[in-house]
Subunit: 345 residues, 2 copies
């Protein structure tokens, strides 16, 4: 049993030993980090900036499937999705805390892989891991991340400021994460039916990367600041374009027109959509997990926004009584409905 | 089936509906709360103060037993233990985020009870609930709280500043929480053996309150500030006096002498210790969950500290090579060992 020698039982380190072990190479990037892991709490110093805070819980079997999610990717994604929420406030992520609940089916080496992903995301975005908790769970792997960010006073952006005639913008492209998930699910079924079949995932790096390793759009937040554009409303796309746009409309008390043919979709997603026979519009509207930024800007900002190849104008804001609609290329009007994933469905 | 009418299924509200329902009466107490629940993240403003952050995960069957923990108390305690960590940094708690994972065996009414406890703690300590996440779990109830606090620049207190000759102080009394837990466990066993037996919990309000509804010592932090005492090191007692004192000694690179007969124990704990035939010193040293503050102060602060009836001086700090010891009333010396609860034991 060669593998045995690479398995260190969690119990052999104890709770404090495990935390020390997993955090011993923890670097800090932020000057504002005064005290990090190792005391009752961390201390940060953001004088003159406002602090932005968000939190998320991820549960095995509900939010991720370890059968096709490498632990390193899971660690990266657990951080990335929280940083994305900070970006959605027009803020820059600076710190995270991470708590995990784990059963003894995980080895120390497995947790190290998970933390490698966490540290990779922290390092890429210069975010400091400043605290956390590690405990047992009776079943499955539970992850809770709290992310902290900073923003210049008054420059944060909520979901409720969209005004009639504002332009609706989205970063990157949509729908690929959902198609990546379909591909992983299909190959999982093939494997479960015949354990000799190896998953066929080659040539699908882009869509698999979209679901397994999403990137928070810190670059967009930085670009907006540089160009002195403050969006009127912003949200990140975790549940699908339709659901998120409806959140902005509801909170802002406005309607919208979305042009179907303006929704940005990658070539890889188009090809995979054909293979699965799912319209890419459906993937973009209802798929979710793209973690792109959806925001509204005043018409006056059009010239600036149009020059950024990573941002697409996909529609405009209307009065509330005009409803929230999508126009197809042939001119048909469809009412938008929220079809985002329901955690209690 | 009369009870049926009081059970609302979580699925009937949906994820967003459930969060809205549970947070619709959420009050804010802090002027620094700019944006609370309802967007991608919350925004707080603590200009000129340092921000202190801590997080904890509580898992059903590991950290609490719903058989004898009322949900309202559980909500209160989940908040209180995190506020206690903020106090242990000599900071004042101001905000929390709360994420929960729940299976569908819980009704909306059960969650309301839990949130009642959360709000009771928030209200008592003027702490704002500013964010969170609600998700499904396959098994059991999972709670993750992140607490945020503020402190004047440089006035936070770590575990590592204890100096030789400093006095070791503790707030309140110790050991009662452990005895309360023993009582609950005993009555649970009696009930499991004979379902007709009703638990005998009367006349034990104090020790039961200590385990079910601990209070963070915000009052001590405020008193220290008022008297201009900055402890040299501080920690809260979650795992037992012995383990926490050893943390301070290890981090500060010092030893200590603890006087057994100075350890504050309530009369109720003494009586229950006799009944269970467990020395109250053992309960104080190894029981944990008292959530009192353990701290060290310079000898010069003795006069001030001695006047506070809620603080007891229990020993002093020595050089590292003298070790960490407890002196019994008869003058015997025992080396302190950490016997705090091991989550992976």
């Amino acid at each position: 049993m060669m593998e045995e020698q690479f398995r260190t039982e969690i119990a052999s380190l104890g709770e404090f030993g495990l935390i020390d072990h997993l955090t011993k190479n923890n670097e800090t990037f932020q000057a504002s980090t005064i005290e990090s892991i190792g005391d009752d709490a961390a201390v940060i110093d953001q004088f003159g900036r406002q602090t932005v805070i968000t939190t998320d819980m991820l549960v095995e079997g509900v939010h991720f499937d370890l059968m096709y999610t490498p632990l390193k990717h899971l660690g990266y994604k657990a951080v990335a999705v929280n940083l994305s929420d900070i970006c959605a406030m027009n803020a820059t992520p600076t710190h995270i805390t991470l708590s995990i609940g784990i059963s003894n089916r995980f080895s120390v080496e497995a947790l190290e892989e998970f933390y490698d992903g966490v540290y990779a995301a922290c390092s890429k975005y210069s975010v400091d891991l400043i605290g956390g908790d590690t405990t047992t769970s009776h079943k499955g792997f539970i992850i809770s991340v709290t992310a902290i960010g900073e923003v210049a006073p008054g420059k944060f952006v909520t979901r409720r400021g969209a005004q009639v005639n504002d332009l609706i913008c989205v970063s990157g492209d949509l729908g690929a994460a959902y198609l990546g998930l379909q591909l992983l699910e299909r190959e999982k079924q093939v494997y479960l039916e015949d354990k000799n079949m190896q998953p066929d995932l080659k040539d699908h790096d882009y869509i698999l990367g979209r679901i397994l390793k999403p990137e928070p759009r810190v670059d967009i937040v930085e670009w907006l600041a540089e160009k002195e554009i403050v969006p009127t409303a912003m949200i990140d796309i975790s549940d699908g374009l339709s659901s998120e746009l409806l959140h902005i409309c509801t909170k802002s008390g406005v309607g919208c027109v979305l042009y179907e043919d303006k929704i940005p979709v990658s070539d890889e997603a188009k090809a995979m959509g054909m293979q699965f026979n799912i319209p890419t519009t459906t993937c973009a509207l209802s798929g979710g997990e793209d973690y792109e930024l959806l925001f509204t800007v005043a018409q006056a900002d059009y010239e600036k926004v149009a020059k950024n190849g990573n941002i697409t104008v996909i529609g405009y804001i209307t009065a509330l009584d005009e409803g929230a609609n999508m126009l197809t290329p042939s001119g048909k009007k469809h009412a938008l409905v929220a079809q985002g994933w329901n955690a209690f469905g």
